[in-house]
């Protein structure tokens, strides 16, 4: 596949340069890698899967890699002197290296977690523990006191909102947020009044799982750095769909999940800048994350093991590493360009009478995640009619109730794409959507 363009993450549009997306042949080859896409639904109709922002489908190679691990290498990692333990540990660490290389991180900066939600909670609870004095002087950057502030955005997924609300409740810190404009972008007009000397954490999503808008990472990171705040990036929607390089983005922490990037469920990763992970106190404690344990006290292993207590989900990590490799070989610049093409096709739904898109109507700095409402028809009913044609979309608030409240809607329907999504599928979706209002007799 051709990946001639250099798409820089951050403030630049995904695929804004003259990148070539996926050719018809390449796309057909990609689709052939995904066994589930061959099945039919609702009475023998082809499946049109437009719910990849919720979870992606998995290529055969990821499934095979997991099975192969169980069939050939299964053992506990980082303990035991037998050959299987060696091989399992090697697979586990190779997967870490693959994921690290994929997101522009060093190996020691990737911590396995059961998912992105868990990863964000690790950081939030580390602040909690540091605020109680854990981690000593090294962890001073993680200490919060009443009057300190944590800044999020109105567009956050609950996973990057509720943990910070809870952290505020535990420490007396105050939660503030960056509002959202009418077209679903972050409103940075008052950024300097929101991110101030009191700000200790600035947590935000790289790409909104509702509007598809890409956040201006460079601007936000610069604002945080000016005041010495740490940045936490929810990268769940960006990592599967566009080139992401955490070093280049300059964020302090990032979280992303395996299952949205063609990998298995039950695994995700926390990225942390090495010096910060080294200074950060552990949250989940127990076996495997220690150095010396006496009855009185314990010293902790260096990162990443310090944050990987208990037996790890090794097969899933190996699967996630394989998924990272699969996407890396496909080339993320081309994937991003493919997304931009699909976003343009999806956004044509705005021309259907009664359909209103929640989010940007242009393809600059946005991915193929398009949420919408249909006048006079509830999102659930929209989803049901599409489902009757074999078209799978998400309906509801997509774990972003405040953002839906901001737009005065309780629920939206959402179409989202992945590497295997075709223009033909988006056209089928548009055609089915055009018939929804007539079905319900909406005027």
């Amino acid at each position: 596949m051709t990946t001639t363009a250099t798409v820089r993450p951050g403030d630049t549009a995904p695929g804004a340069a003259s990148a070539v997306g996926l050719s018809t042949t390449e796309l057909a080859a990609v689709r052939a890698d995904f066994p589930l896409l061959e099945r039919t639904v609702r009475g023998g109709q082809p499946l049109v899967y437009l719910d990849s922002a919720a979870t992606s489908q998995k290529p055969q190679v990821v499934l095979d890699t997991e099975v192969d691990f169980y069939e050939q290498r299964n053992a506990a990692v980082h303990r035991g002197a037998h050959q299987l333990a060696e091989e399992a540990t090697e697979a586990f660490e190779q997967a870490r290296a693959a994921v690290a290389a994929f997101v522009g991180a060093d190996e020691g900066e990737i911590v396995w977690q059961p998912g992105a939600t868990a990863a964000i909670n690790v950081v939030a609870y580390a602040f909690s523990n540091a605020s109680l004095g854990r981690g000593g002087e090294a962890a001073v950057r993680f200490r919060l006191a009443p009057g300190d502030e944590i800044v999020v955005t109105e567009a956050e997924h609950h996973a990057n909102l509720v943990p910070w609300q809870e952290l505020c409740a535990r420490t007396g810190a105050v939660l503030r947020w960056i509002p959202v404009t009418d077209d679903g972008r972050l409103d940075l007009a008052d950024l300097d009044r929101i991110v101030t000397e009191r700000t200790k954490v600035l947590a935000f999503g790289h790409v909104s799982n509702v509007t598809g808008a890409v956040a201006p990472v460079a601007t936000l990171v610069a604002a945080a750095r000016r005041v010495g705040a740490l940045t936490v990036l929810d990268a769940c929607q960006s990592v599967p769909n566009m080139p992401v390089d955490f070093h280049e983005l300059g964020v302090d922490f990032a979280a992303f999940s395996g299952h949205k990037m063609l990998g298995p469920t039950g695994v995700g990763a926390l990225y942390g800048r090495r010096e910060l992970l080294e200074a950060m106190p552990p949250t989940v404690t127990g076996g495997s994350m220690v150095e010396v344990v006496t009855m009185e006290s314990t010293t902790y292993a260096p990162p990443p093991q310090r944050f990987e207590a208990g037996t790890q989900m090794v097969a899933q990590t190996v699967g996630m590493g394989c998924a990272a490799q699969y996407l890396g070989e496909l080339g993320m610049a081309g994937v991003a360009q493919h997304e931009t093409e699909l976003a343009a096709e999806m956004l044509k739904i705005a021309d259907i009478p009664g359909v209103r898109v929640i989010g940007p109507l242009d393809t600059a700095d946005r991915l193929a995640v398009v949420s919408f409402v249909v006048d006079g028809v509830h999102a659930h009913d929209v989803g049901q009619v599409l489902d009757d044609k074999g078209i799978a979309v998400r309906v509801g608030h997509h774990c972003a109730q405040p953002l839906h409240r901001r737009f005065g809607v309780a629920a939206t329907a959402r179409a989202s794409a992945s590497v295997y999504t075709t223009v033909e599928e988006v056209v089928a979706f548009r055609e089915a959507l055009a018939g929804v209002r007539a079905f319900f007799g909406a005027e």
Binding site: V377, H380, V385, D388, H404, A410, A411, F439, F440
Partner: protein, 160 residues
């Protein structure tokens, strides 16, 4: 009829468009011997919600139901149909209808296979098709949950 049409029967679409009982009515004062209760129910997965008030006569019958809500056509139509069924009904009959409707929703599209029961449910049998869609059963049950809870809160269930 396609399964989609089985789900969205005309009677459901009509009730969704012209709901019965929508618009909250002030609850009667206790000195009239009536019991009254209010309940707010939410379906957290989709944000559907209903606030329902019930007014029970001293003799233990439903004097009136009023409600306000937002949500999909299934949830809104179901509250509306339920309102027509339970107004004027003794509480024992309301309990029976609630049980029958729950049975219908567990029938996976087969219906109750009992003419007496289906006669009692009247228009509510139109929701048989909904029971083929596990994700939508909760929508149909939202109003019934609000009625049950508001009756419990009214104290009428303890005395009947």
């Amino acid at each position: 009829m396609s399964t989609l049409e089985q789900m969205y029967q005309q009677v459901i679409l009509d009730h969704a468009k012209h709901p019965v009982g929508r618009g909250l009515v002030d609850l009667p004062s206790a000195d009239q011997g009536h019991l009254a209760g209010e309940s707010h129910q939410v379906n957290p997965t989709c944000g559907d919600e209903v606030t329902l008030r019930v007014d029970v006569t001293p003799e233990g019958s439903v004097a009136g139901v009023s409600w306000e809500g937002q949500g999909c056509s299934i949830s809104q139509a179901s509250v509306s149909v339920m309102t027509t069924l339970v107004e004027g009904a003794p509480l024992a009959e309301v309990a029976r209808l609630d049980r029958l409707f729950h049975d219908l929703m567990s029938s996976r599209g087969k219906g109750l296979g009992d003419d007496d029961a289906e006669d009692a449910l009247g228009d509510a049998t139109a929701f048989t098709g909904v029971s083929q869609y596990p994700a939508r059963i909760k929508c149909a049950l939202l109003g019934w949950a609000a009625l049950k809870d508001s009756l419990a809160r009214s104290g009428a269930l303890a005395t009947s």
